[in-house]
Subunit: 404 residues, 2 copies
């Protein structure tokens, strides 16, 4: 072993710690714990029998299996790209396969976007709070991350403009603005159409790309679907990230990027050096699954399942939460955010929650790039059964009451 | 779209081009071309029926499929890690699961090693020639790459020491020495045990890590197996990379890193930000495949298949190559390297080979970080059928004769 391992590390990795969420995921496996910490879909949402049939069909076909088991194109399986493009076109997006590259789930897309654009010290703008996996990816390339608070319509356009103007005075042009417009992780907030338009206009005015992370958009329980910012913009100023992880199965690790062809080309170059290609086997199964129209069937099932779980949880909050506690009421997705009185630190409370009440959540601070949010927590409602969720919320209420 | 996309790119990506090999892979699909360009295993080596059975067993088991289709640990599937550790222990390596992390094939391990250690401008040392995918990964983090020529025993220890001493005088400590000791890509050369010992000793003397990339080691046709440098060292000064891509199926994208636990820990942190986890589904299939002892059966089949193809090719070279042409005679692996007279540029010859003779190879220059090797080419003997290989070599000889 070399004498000074830490001294030999890159600046990006030197500052990184094991992700709080990933470490907490390990708790899920202890049977006595009810965990609201992960971002896992319910195993009941996995279409096991349909997938098994597709796998058998692929493996029985010599040509199909030779493609699925071999190396594939960096851009992704052409059948899967065509299926996704056709699905987005039906939703109103004006794209072709030139606009789309498959990634090893969304996390790789976040890593690649950082690899493509970030030199150490470059500024990017994110929501306060924002998805931890995004922050980690950007941090690993040495980005300087500035946070813009959210209001009930999503990232504040007013505060974004103020920040952009301030940076312009300092001659700093951020590389991109990172937003999660639908059922935001962790806050559960959805951006209104007018807010989307405002953010896009600011992107144009200050010549800054917008990175739209959209893993939950199709999981809407109530209210009207919002157009993607990619569609609203229509000029290639937005990079849109999608994934199957919440709609289908996370275990396949399939996501995608939709962007201007010149930007897609940079993703291809960066991905070649990163993992050559996303598993062609998994891509071909997903392509056949889409082709059969099964994804929409599964999404309907998931919406039904999660909306019941969320409704139950919100009702329990309403009935049992002590005064001074507030929470978001997302119209879809997997998460909601709870805010406690200022004096409560959820990092400390989490330790007690696990030890005294066998219940876990994610302390909110890690989602806030400025270290604020110490009195918040993220609650997942998709993973556990409704029964476990009910028992877990009672435990959570107990520990909150003790703390208050 | 932003006004100056190229201006917004990171320094690492600005210098990258689409990989010559990946672009050439597209030629494989044109039926009239016989391509020696890719690094693809033969589709005849894929254990279709065995894999199908394992998939069905997993999908029929509720618990097993719930693990396989869900998110998994960043370190990898514990069953797969245990299987791999037990296999390496049988081969003589003193490791536990703490020494091993699963990656999204070897290319991700190369990316992660670069992410962990390379700040822009850091020096690393590689063979002349060396695997292009390694060079791309290191380049994408802005590494300064210095090449050390190979002789018939692998990387020259004498020239390596000279370079290390020269760098030391300049107060430069390279981050690592990148070697492919067995059936090296592209040259096909295997490092002798004494050379391995010399390189390891230099790694210790100059306090520089050694990165041992080992995708082909088990595919030995003749001669004695060499110990891995990881085993010979035994102190954790070597990082060993392995992959299933050449032994089993590339379409699953499964590789692994074996290293000192402190280094494995850095890989975990870096991988969390990169793709969270390698597809748990593919890992579980691979774990069950190993558990059944099927990998060793498949490796025997592959060795038999490729050694015949290589023998045929070497015999044809012997009989038909014009004077002034030489080639390596690898004891295993997938590639050999041909060297033409100095005045022939294989980049130019490749265009004519495709246009006039419908045959393709990789021009060697891209494997040489110093831009030399313009009279070399890499020939793959694993992918095409023996009949195609015979026809292809005749075409290749034709174009070489025309050029000479």
């Amino acid at each position: 072993m070399i004498k000074d391992l830490n001294g030999a590390l890159s600046v990006g990795v030197k500052g990184m710690k094991r992700s709080a969420i990933r470490e907490l995921l390990k708790l899920v496996s202890r049977p006595e714990i009810i965990s609201f910490a992960g971002g896992l879909p319910s195993p009941d949402s996995f279409p096991r029998q349909e997938l098994k049939q597709i796998m058998m069909d692929i493996m029985d076909d010599e040509k199909e299996s030779s493609i699925a088991l071999q190396y594939g194109a960096t851009e992704g399986d052409i059948l899967l790209r065509e299926q996704l493009v056709s699905r987005y076109r039906q939703q109103g997006l004006d794209i072709t396969t030139e606009n789309l590259i498959i990634t090893t789930a969304s996390q790789q897309a976040l890593d690649l976007v950082a690899k493509i654009f970030i030199n150490r010290g470059d500024t990017i703008l994110v929501g306060l709070p924002s998805y931890l996996g995004g922050l980690s990816a950007f941090n690993s390339y040495g980005a300087k991350i500035d946070g813009i608070p959210l209001d009930e319509d999503g990232m504040s356009a007013e505060l974004l403009e103020k920040k952009l103007e301030e940076l312009k005075q300092q001659n700093v042009k951020p590389k991109f603005i990172y937003v999660i417009p639908d059922f935001q992780n962790p806050a559960g907030i959805t951006m209104s159409e007018s807010r989307r338009e405002e953010i896009i206009a600011l992107g144009h005015k200050y010549d800054v790309l917008i990175l739209e992370d959209s893993p939950y958009r199709e999981l809407r329980f109530i209210g009207e679907h919002q157009k993607t910012m990619y569609e609203l913009d229509g000029t290639g100023h937005v990079i849109l990230l999608g994934t199957f992880s919440k709609l289908f199965v996370p275990g396949f690790r399939i996501g995608w990027v939709i962007a201007h062809p010149e930007i897609v080309d940079k993703f291809v170059v960066a991905k070649q050096a990163t993992d050559l290609c996303t598993p062609p086997f998994n891509q071909r199964i997903a392509a056949r699954y889409l082709e059969k129209g099964l994804l929409d069937v599964n999404i309907k099932k998931i919406i039904q399942m999660y909306s019941v779980k969320q409704r139950t949880m919100l009702d329990l909050f309403e009935q049992h939460m002590p005064e001074g506690v507030s929470w978001t009421k997302p119209e879809g997705g997997l998460f909601l955010m709870v805010t406690l009185p200022k004096h409560i630190n959820t990092n400390d409370m989490l330790v007690k929650a696990i030890q005294e009440e066998n219940v876990a959540f994610v302390a909110g601070q890690s989602f806030f790039c400025d270290g604020s949010g110490t009195n918040t927590m993220r609650i997942n409602f998709s993973y556990a059964s409704n029964e476990k969720n009910i028992e877990g919320i009672h435990r959570l209420v107990n520990i909150i009451k003790k703390e208050i």
